[in-house]
Assembly symmetry: C2
């Protein structure tokens, strides 16, 4: 615990960085993966189980929480951490991304966004000021600036216009943020895949002196190659002594590649969502446990994994749970996937520490390419 929010850079290996983010609610070893706790729960997991996988911070969604149970209610119940019994820091997004992807009848103006709830059709207005206020009511350890996530593809003109709106909103977001010891706010770099726009965006944000910086507008359909090349020209522009967060990313290979391009923090629904749809991440690539090839297989899902699903159950049992649509199947696969992601981040941190990240990444690619173990004869 600390009363100063700060990023400590411990070691570099190429562009990759080993560090620590110190916050009012605990320390985060980076590079870090943040499980997504959309509606005040990491789906199908108890918070102590999330913690046991190695997660040190989780993400909450402003859009979902403002609709249910509402920010005012969470505040009255002691903030999001107490409400959901998460004993650690929480980062909340600004709501902007989900308003554009989930809400109905959206209308975007200079002031903000008006929309209808996807739950009950009620009308809401979200502005930079209101987004920051909601995140304050949630008592988020890390508050995100309110921005527009530029869709992909966008012309240079569209991307510039969208980015400049986000930068005006970033200024209003920064003004609305109430600084508190150990709490921080991150600005979000936009500009699509255009180097000049990313540069303009970073410069605009630097002037606001955020506690951290996110790269937004990626993982929206541009593909891994475009994402990596955008990171390659964007992260060198970003402050060295602030954490860098790549929003909404991603697959295991995306994480490895983005760390090698200077990213410190990630969030993604992939491990949890996949855990509810029979998809498992393993050291030998993804495995679909719904496939009948697993029905008699007494072997663990991933022999090198320490999670309960791998230590205590066979592939045959997991397959059975999935075929019967049993909740325990979702619980075990979600736990496994989160464990896999945290193990991957731990491996990455160890490799940076020892200056052998390139070797780690080569071995990772090789293992993933091997594919799943052969079926039993």
């Amino acid at each position: 615990m600390t009363h100063v929010f700060r990023y400590e850079l411990l070691k570099t290996d190429g562009a990759a960085r080993l560090g620590r983010v110190h916050t009012a609610h605990g320390t985060i070893d980076t590079p870090a993966f943040m499980p997504v706790g959309t509606a005040a729960t990491v789906k199908a997991m108890r918070p102590e189980e999330v913690r046991a996988t190695g997660a040190q911070i989780i993400l909450g969604n402003t859009y979902h929480l403002m609709l249910r149970p509402t920010a005012e209610r969470v505040a009255a119940l002691g903030g999001l951490r107490n409400f959901m019994n998460w004993r650690g820091p929480i980062l909340t997004d600004s709501g902007g991304f989900q308003v554009m992807s989930l809400a109905k009848l959206r209308k975007l103006t200079e002031d903000g966004v008006t929309f209808q709830s996807h739950v009950d059709g009620s009308r809401h207005h979200l502005t930079p000021e209101r987004s920051i206020e909601i995140q304050h009511l949630l008592d988020a350890t890390i508050t995100m600036a309110f921005d527009e996530c530029t869709p992909f593809p966008a012309t240079h003109e569209q991307a510039a216009e969208s980015m400049r709106l986000s930068m005006r909103w970033a200024e209003r977001s920064r003004k609305a943020f109430v600084a508190r010891p150990g709490y921080g706010q991150f600005g979000i770099v936009q500009g699509s895949v255009f180097e000049d726009l990313r540069r303009e965006s970073v410069e605009a944000l630097n002037a606001l002196d955020y506690e951290g910086y996110a790269v937004g507008g990626l993982a929206v359909g541009e593909g891994q190659e475009a994402m990596f090349s955008t990171l390659e020209f964007t992260t060198p522009l970003m402050p060295q002594h602030k954490p860098r967060y790549l929003m909404g990313v991603g697959k295991p290979a995306d994480l490895v590649g983005a760390v090698m391009r200077g990213i410190d923090m990630f969030d993604c629904v992939l491990p949890t969502r996949s855990g509810r749809t029979a998809q498992a991440f393993t050291r030998r690539g993804t495995v679909n446990l719904r496939n009948a090839r697993h029905s008699d297989d007494p072997r663990p899902l991933d022999a090198e994994c320490s999670c309960a699903a791998c230590r205590q159950y066979s592939r045959a049992y997991l397959h059975h749970l999935i075929r019967c649509e049993e909740i325990l199947g979702m619980m075990l696969l979600t736990q496994h996937n989160l464990q896999y992601y945290q193990d991957l981040m731990r491996g990455i941190r160890g490799a940076i520490q020892e200056g052998r990240l390139a070797e780690f990444a080569a071995r990772f690619d090789e293992d993933q390419a091997r594919g799943d173990i052969a079926p039993l004869a």
Copy 2:
């Protein structure tokens, strides 16, 4: 652990009995409640969580398991206990009850029942011999005889005919059972609400010298009064030194009343099913957590309960999870309900030990009648 399956009668208090069932896979303190693990999982619970509530034995359903994943598959994977990682005894039902309630196109003959699977329409034939074989393949610690659960209401003639078929099947079931050290088989008393038929049934079963006896054909719509009066004339006929199991029962008040009428073991889907539909059992009666009155309530569900849902979360949070249809809501409420049931059984056992069960039951009724705590002003 023991190599002899036996019931140890420790103390009586009126008709109520404190005892222990010793089995190859562990000891069961009675009166005991067995959570239902239909398809090789107590729904929404990890087995270690089930155990932590105090459960010493769980129930598996032959009908569900013979369809998915099949008994032969479970046997090849080391039996049901290993398959689902339950470290304790398991009782399996015979499949008869669920064939009649779930399967399609049922045809009952002297030989057994032919039916179509409710899952995929496949045809199956279940006989006393096949039911016992399936339960053997599952490696059930306690095997149930194959019977017909007489529907309610039934005329004396219908009940007699049905009971006598079950008694012929009981004889075939007993012959088919492979005795193994520490394993047991229970016969099932039928006869609806008719005293002469229940007596005839008990006598027929006594001749077969089962390791335990169940009362079947109750909790099928006859109401608590008829169930209790049937128990009152049935249990005195049953062997003193064998466990007595009331199948498919029931609500908390049913358990208390049935123990006072000489029952040792129970199973019911009520705590688990209710846990998935927002219904909680508490020391002050049932609580529907979907009700909006809980939306701002910071108090625990049941202040006297030791489960995670009550120690770590507010009613407001549980209500929120339920409204958002979050899996964690089902996990927490199921855990609470199972904890409540096990706490109730522990209380009952303590009361019998101290010879104050009548006082315990009066206090139980009083507490239940108080109703839920008043809403906050």
